[in-house]
Symmetry: C2
Subunit: 492 residues, 2 copies
């Protein structure tokens, strides 16, 4: 301690940490999915000041077991059905370990040539694997890059769109016109956040109504909003369409939206954060019809493709527009490779300057599973969702809230919002499963999202059994035994 | 393969990867610091499509050795003196492994209670450790958060500043006034990038002249720029002052700048990305005089504090302003804990929604080293820089370009820019060291930044010996044997 850890100490401690992770995974099913302790529990258990003298790794591992892990929400738990999955896998974790060990910071090609080229290659692999438009390939005018999240992808797409909509003026003049962004009422909150960050303000976002059956954006309403804005002297800059909305995994009609964007010269960004992974399976590529219209597109391998957070895969059809929008070249970053024009400097494709070597984890995952292994994982999630949806459909007390084309099922109790909210609180209070909620057509709706690698039929069946039993109690007027405040704390 | 990796397979493969990392570190000194292969080498060595069937981890490790690592820039190499260090350490790597294994996504307190609270606690620890202003503590109105980088910290500071400067109007109206940001001519490029992202445009950034001796911002020039902008109907929103500029580690005069910001009601953000770590040592706290004026402050533990990239520590004096600027609350994220107001949801402190469990690595590093261990590391870097600077100072052919209060030394050949540029190319071509360059008072200047954990006196002396010998050749008119294009590729 106090000294640097030498390679042999690292080897010994590293084995111990590998054991710790293996044991965590082995025992995950025995833990409650979500912790119950009130806010402040961890804070109270930790000292108020850092230690004066060094401590051994064993001390940290002991505190992990004692203080930290009992208050972690277990996203990899087979009973975790909340939000969207953020699944990881052995090969992803191992690749991240290699990345941490190398400690290479790839802001420029010159500062990590292999990391830069591997990233470009694996993103080209994904274009092939998902049958994405050829113009996204780096071998043409496009290219892919790893962002931390779909939020950041939407932000950089918005910036490139402003660059284009302004005719290049925005870089120097900033937001000096009333630029507008469009998405459906079920577009992700990160679209509003990106618009705010980019200086468009809440007023700069037009939320377009959805079809109440499909929950997908209505193209006619999009066109009407664009026309109204143009008539009012506003400048339509970007449309963000979604493949797989957060509430219900609705798919916006890209063929029609794409034509509208082309007609008005508006940047089309496609946010497929969760459902993009589905395109790995040929039978699900209907969901990507019209994606050839996209100026940019992203999905999150860290959601449903077994690659640990953070890993968002983002492509543009014209990398030149993106780079022009984002590049700043100070003297201290000048180098011959960049000036040769023969290399990609990924700092110009993202908000931060520095970057980790994240391509390694995508590379390890793609190689460990192979195409067939990834397809098997995705199909398993869809089959489990179908299995669960069949239970819901067969029970008159329940109603499905929307179609379930992927691995998310949305449903509610026919008895109403209050009963549905009580149902969520009660099943989550069991500690065996964790679901979250949304609103669909204004009604309180439960979401069950399948995706953790350990989730099997028995976990989905257990979720249904818990829901069914809780529904019986709730509809009979039996109140939950747990305090409602506590029961409500974890769900989200 | 093709199946999920089970815990026992992970254990075996994990040991192999730990061994791989330990062996990498053990042999790091024997590798060239920077690869020599031309662009495209890695791309050409990789297949054009992903594998149909799964492969074992051993295959990935073999390709790592064969294809990847020979083309990585070795930031942890003891001869790496480029840019600023991005140093990591054993405890940081191990904590990241735990974080990857947990796979917990902490966008909300509810989605990782322990991760959220541990982050708040370790950032409070750093306030104590660095004697930062008490108002940055979470126990008052302030608080700290981990950002990916100082670039993102500057961006969110800019957004909070716009929120304040607009009187709350910006959230809805966007950038509808000519807001202005101020930094010195040696402020980091991320400040211009943040202003561009935020919609201020290049025109929104005022670069304030520096004192040619100290390279620090001249407060009188800052005041004059603000006055001129106000007279012109522009709205001063933020001043970004730097502790430790990238070119020379100059320290802007915060006591004077802080008074000016207070007088005009302008947000003061302090970017101490590299040199902030110095405040861990009491004898270096002079560099932070006046930091009590800051509305926000950041430094990068991933630069000089042994915590692997990415880890920027960012504090605000009033967390309410930051949260108001960034929060968006969709139904699918609503939860009882957030609505109670008793918890921190870090998604509202940053650009992305999702977040990894990065507090673990800071916690492991602070505990492994303890306060005394961290101070020893920082003091070692400063002593090595002093040792190197003494060599430069004693050689009439060389001149120091600026003061060297921390672990960066800037210098040039008196013979001029061309000779200095040739010197950089030649020493980097040796493969034994890697330095980068900048311009100081318009003149080409070499930078030697100490910080990798393995760097000792022998490595700094070797760097000097290489520089001295190369200077002898260059000043005698002997041309480099390496092709100049190739020699120039790596430096940056």
């Amino acid at each position: 301690m106090a000294e640097h850890m030498d390679p042999e100490e690292f080897r010994r401690a590293g084995y111990a940490v590998v054991d710790w992770v293996a044991d965590y995974w082995r025992t995950l099913d025995q833990r409650p999915v979500v912790p119950r302790d009130p806010p402040g529990t961890v804070t109270a258990a930790l000292p108020a000041t850092p230690p004066a003298h060094g401590e051994p790794v064993a001390a940290m591992l002991a505190d992990l077991d004692e203080i930290i892990v009992p208050r972690v929400t277990h996203w990899q738990h087979p009973g975790f059905f909340g939000y969207f999955p953020a699944n990881t896998s052995g090969p992803s974790v191992l690749a991240d370990l290699v990345s941490s060990g190398l400690g290479a910071q790839g802001m420029l090609w010159a500062t990590n040539p292999a990391g830069t080229e591997l990233e470009t290659v694996v993103l080209d692999w994904l274009v092939e694997l998902m049958d994405l438009p050829a113009r996204f390939r780096s071998t043409g005018a496009g290219g892919g890059v790893i962002q931390d999240s779909a939020s950041s992808a939407t932000l950089v797409a918005t910036l490139a769109a402003l660059h284009r909509a302004s005719g290049g003026r925005w870089r120097e003049a900033g937001v000096d016109r009333r630029y507008r962004a469009y998405t459906s009422t079920h577009g992700h909150s990160s679209i509003e956040k990106a618009a705010r960050i980019a200086g468009l303000g809440g007023q700069g976002v037009r939320t377009i109504e959805v079809d109440p059956e499909t929950q997908a954006m209505r193209p006619a309403a999009l066109r009407a909003a664009i026309e109204a804005d143009l008539a009012n002297g506003e400048v339509p800059a970007i449309v963000v369409a979604t493949i797989g909305t957060t509430s219900t995994t609705a798919v916006d009609p890209l063929p029609e939206i794409g034509v509208i964007c082309a007609e008005y010269g508006i940047w089309l960004h496609v946010d497929a954060a969760y459902a993009g992974a589905a395109a790995v399976c040929p039978e699900l590529r209907w969901s990507h019809a019209g994606v050839e219209h996209a100026d940019s597109y992203c999905f999150d391998p860290h959601k449903w493709l077994l690659t640990g957070f953070d890993c968002d895969a983002f492509w543009v059809a014209d990398r030149g527009e993106l780079i022009e929008a984002l590049t700043v070249m100070p003297e201290f970053l000048r180098n011959a490779a960049s000036e040769s024009g023969a290399v990609i400097d990924y700092r110009d494709w993202q908000v931060p300057l520095g970057r980790r070597f994240r391509a390694l984890k995508l590379w390890f995952v793609l190689r460990w599973y192979g195409v067939e292994g990834l397809r098997a994982h995705l199909r398993s999630g869809i089959a489990l969702a179908d299995r669960f949806a069949a239970r819901v459909r067969a029970d008159d007390r329940f109603a499905l809230a929307a179609p379930h084309p992927f691995s998310l099922v949305t449903f509610r109790l026919r008895a109403g919002d209050e009963a549905s909210a009580a149902l969520l609180a009660r099943v989550n209070d069991s500690g065996q499963v964790h679901l979250t909620h949304t609103r669909v057509n204004g009604r309180y709706t439960l979401r069950l999202a399948v995706g953790a690698p350990l989730t099997g039929p028995e976990h989905v069946d257990r979720a249904w059994d818990l829901l069914s039993a809780a529904a019986t109690d709730i509809l009979a007027g039996v109140t939950s035994t747990g305090g409602s405040a506590r029961a409500n704390t974890p769900p989200g």
